[in-house]
């Protein structure tokens, strides 16, 4: 008979997921299943029949964590389909929003939720409340960083959650002088908050390293938008890095053609792969993938290299990479603002028949939107793959690797052990609402 342990719900993540550990009758681990149990809402189906310009504000509702990224990936895809190039000032606004949103998201996941894995004991008592008791200054810094990201979302996007300003051809709102002043003022406060986060990150680095060294994580390929000296999440060439660190550039449309989404029977989300890669070969996305492919060079990056030499495969390094990204993103936001953003943020555009791909770096990694429209701009086909869908198979394998390692020490996993397994999953920062929209559909092919 097969025995099983179910970890449910996996806590401190967005949405509903479970981990099932399966054992044979001699109590050896037979396998693991990372189960996404949140339901399919059907975005790709009901987006069909909508006008292309309506898609960004609908697509933002896919996720309550990375709304700006969904809006911008969607608008990029529609613009690609219609052959539209938005004005330079609009692109600056979008980059500003993209980088600031990343700060918001990482502050929530790393500072407020995941960090307690390394700060709080006993295990299974983590989370925001435990953190408030343990280190209120750090929690307040996390809130400050979130507030900053949300303010930028509000001022650029019209509202902080599910923004509305991106439209094919640009943005419906330019920044006013007062808006820019507000952001600059908040930037100062958030840079101070960032110092507190950095300080604590150095303090928990031994714990993080210990967690990383406690098991042998999986080796995978990494997929990211190419990162040069500066972080760039809005628009850069899509790049695949193999296990040895060799990089290959991918064309967005080729990538779209090669993307396959085989279903698995135990999870509502399929395990995507690229045709041409060997079956079962994994492809990860996210902060770890981005830093592996980057030329960033801050002091924090040098510290990272000492602890986690690159190319790095250990999932726990994701946390450190998130902190680096927050700092780099604040720097880029300041640069964009110093550079100045003009007010020519929109052009009138004409729809046309076509297929467009929009790929951005969401906080959790590559986010892919693809739409086909007819000649008046009505969507006839929609396909969306989110970072957590890309990562799902890797999450399962990392959790399995951790469980195997722990069972070598203690064949009957304790509650503390199970939290260790959850910690690996948390290092990926899975986002379940997002992941559930990844299967493609086509209208009228019932």
């Amino acid at each position: 008979m097969t025995n099983q342990i179910m970890i449910t719900p996996i806590t401190r993540i967005e949405g509903h997921a479970e981990l099932k550990l399966l054992f044979d009758d001699r109590n050896a681990l037979e396998g693991t299943q990372f189960k996404i149990t949140g339901p399919v809402r059907g975005f790709e189906l009901f987006l069909c029949g909508k006008l292309g310009e309506e898609v960004p504000t609908l697509a933002t509702r896919i996720c309550g964590f990375c709304y700006s990224q969904h809006m911008l990936a969607a608008v990029k895809a529609v613009e690609d389909a219609w052959g539209v190039t938005p004005p330079e000032d609009a692109v600056k606004l979008r980059r500003l929003m993209m980088q600031a949103s990343d700060v918001q998201d990482h502050a929530l996941h790393y500072v407020l939720l995941a960090c307690s894995d390394f700060l709080c004991t006993p295990y299974n008592k983590g989370g925001i409340v435990a953190m408030i008791e343990r280190d209120r200054e750090l929690v307040e810094a996390g809130f400050k960083l979130r507030e900053f990201g949300q303010a930028v979302n509000r001022l650029v996007g019209g509202r902080q959650i599910h923004p509305v300003t991106a439209v094919p051809g640009g943005m419906t709102k330019a920044l006013t002088k007062e808006d820019t002043e507000t952001i600059c003022k908040m930037l100062k406060t958030s840079q101070q908050a960032m110092e507190i986060v950095k300080d604590r990150t150095y303090k928990v680095i031994d714990e993080t390293k210990k967690a990383a060294d406690s098991f042998k994580d999986i080796d995978t390929n990494h997929l990211f938008l190419e990162q040069g000296k500066d972080v760039e999440f809005y628009d850069a060439p899509l790049t695949l890095m193999d296990k040895k660190g060799k990089k290959t550039k991918l064309d967005n449309h080729d990538f779209s053609e090669r993307l396959r989404k085989p279903s698995v029977d135990y999870s509502f989300v399929a395990h995507p792969y690229l045709e041409g890669m060997s079956p079962g070969e994994l492809m990860r996305v996210g902060p770890l993938s981005r830093i592996n492919g980057s030329k960033w060079s801050s002091d924090l990056v040098r510290s990272f290299d000492k602890v986690f030499p690159r190319p790095q495969q250990n999932s726990f390094a994701n946390h450190f990479a998130r902190v680096i990204e927050m700092e780099e993103n604040l720097r880029i936001v300041e640069e964009i603002l110093n550079d100045g953003i003009g007010t020519h943020v929109r052009d009138i555009v004409e729809p046309r028949a076509g297929t467009g791909v929009g790929i951005v770096e969401a906080p959790r990694g590559i986010l892919y939107h693809c739409y086909t429209t007819n000649n008046v701009g009505v969507v006839t086909h929609a396909s969306i793959v989110t970072p957590t869908a890309f990562n799902q198979h890797s999450i399962e394998k990392s959790a399995e690797a951790m469980a195997r390692r722990l069972m070598e020490k203690r064949p009957n996993l304790s509650e503390e052990d199970l939290n260790r397994v959850e910690m690996v999953i948390r290092a990926y920062d899975p986002c379940v609402s997002c992941a559930l929209r990844m299967v493609q559909t086509k209208r009228g092919e019932m």
Binding site: R41, L51, T57, R61, V167, Y266
Partner: protein, 270 residues
């Protein structure tokens, strides 16, 4: 005595939870001063189940699967009051757009028909079952407070939560979005209905005048106030996410008639 709270996410996007965090920006203080005590919130902390009774259960998201109905009933039975937070929990929200397609067809298309050559199946192994329709929570449990919005505006949400924490009923403005909107309305709505509708991509509206007057479809005058008309201020038409106005202004039915005409004139909407 702190107010004991649990938050539950059903089928939703987590945006309402984030709006709650935005609203309660002083959460560290509220927890420290023992104003609130959070007992369950799978997104924010590690408790795997709700083990004791709470004063307030905040529910985000609607119901699309059988397990969601079960956990909602179980949690609500341990809660003195239930707060339906956001469009999905209140009256179905965006996921209800999937209700126009028979559920099994939707899943069949999702997994199988559009992935030819992959042997895909609708996943079923130890997974919850779907309902035919995505629906709000009020048909399943008794709801004491509700707040619409996608997600609810943090300022309004803060007022509502603070009112509930101090044992009062949250108040709702009887106004409409137009009352909060700085844009000037110049045309009679019935006359405006004679103008052809314009698409958002084909007009760059000025900052001062009503979006409807400039040919766009804006839901502001049929929508309850409460957000400060954020979208029209940002040059984007109101989507009506705060739900219908409590007291409609006399002009609203005419405006709605105008909209039906305008919507009918748009491609894809017939």
């Amino acid at each position: 005595m702190p107010v004991k709270i649990a938050t539950l996410q059903l089928t939703g996007c987590a945006g309402c939870h984030l709006s709650l965090l935005d609203a309660l920006y002083d959460l560290p203080e509220l927890v420290d001063k023992n104003v609130v005590q959070i007992l369950y919130s799978h997104m924010l902390m590690d408790a795997k189940d709700l083990e004791e009774n709470v004063d307030l259960l905040i529910v985000e998201g609607g119901i699309l699967k059988t397990d969601e109905e079960e956990i909602l009933i179980k949690f609500a039975s341990k809660a003195a009051k239930v707060f339906a937070l956001g469009g999905c929990a209140c009256h179905r929200g965006i996921a209800a757009q999937g209700n126009f397609i028979p559920r099994m067809d939707l899943l069949e298309q999702y997994y199988v028909k559009l992935n030819p050559g992959l042997n895909n199946k609708i996943p079923t192994d130890d997974l919850p079952e779907y309902f035919e329709f995505f629906h709000g929570i009020d048909g399943t449990v008794e709801v004491d407070y509700s707040l619409l919005g996608c997600p609810p505006d943090p300022t309004e949400l803060r007022d509502a939560v603070l009112a509930i924490l101090s044992g009062k009923e949250p108040s709702m403005p009887a106004k409409i979005i137009c009352d909060e909107c700085p844009r000037k309305r110049n045309k009679d709505p019935e006359l405006a209905s004679l103008d052809p509708a314009k698409r958002l991509i084909s007009v760059i509206p000025d900052e001062d005048n009503c979006l409807v007057d400039q040919g766009l479809i804006c839901m502001g005058h049929a929508t309850r106030a409460g957000c400060g008309a954020k979208c029209p201020r940002a040059g984007a038409p109101c989507e009506g996410c705060l739900g219908p106005a409590i007291k409609w202004r006399a002009v609203a039915p005419n405006d709605l008639a105008a909209y039906v005409k305008r919507l009918a004139s748009q491609p894809g909407n017939i």
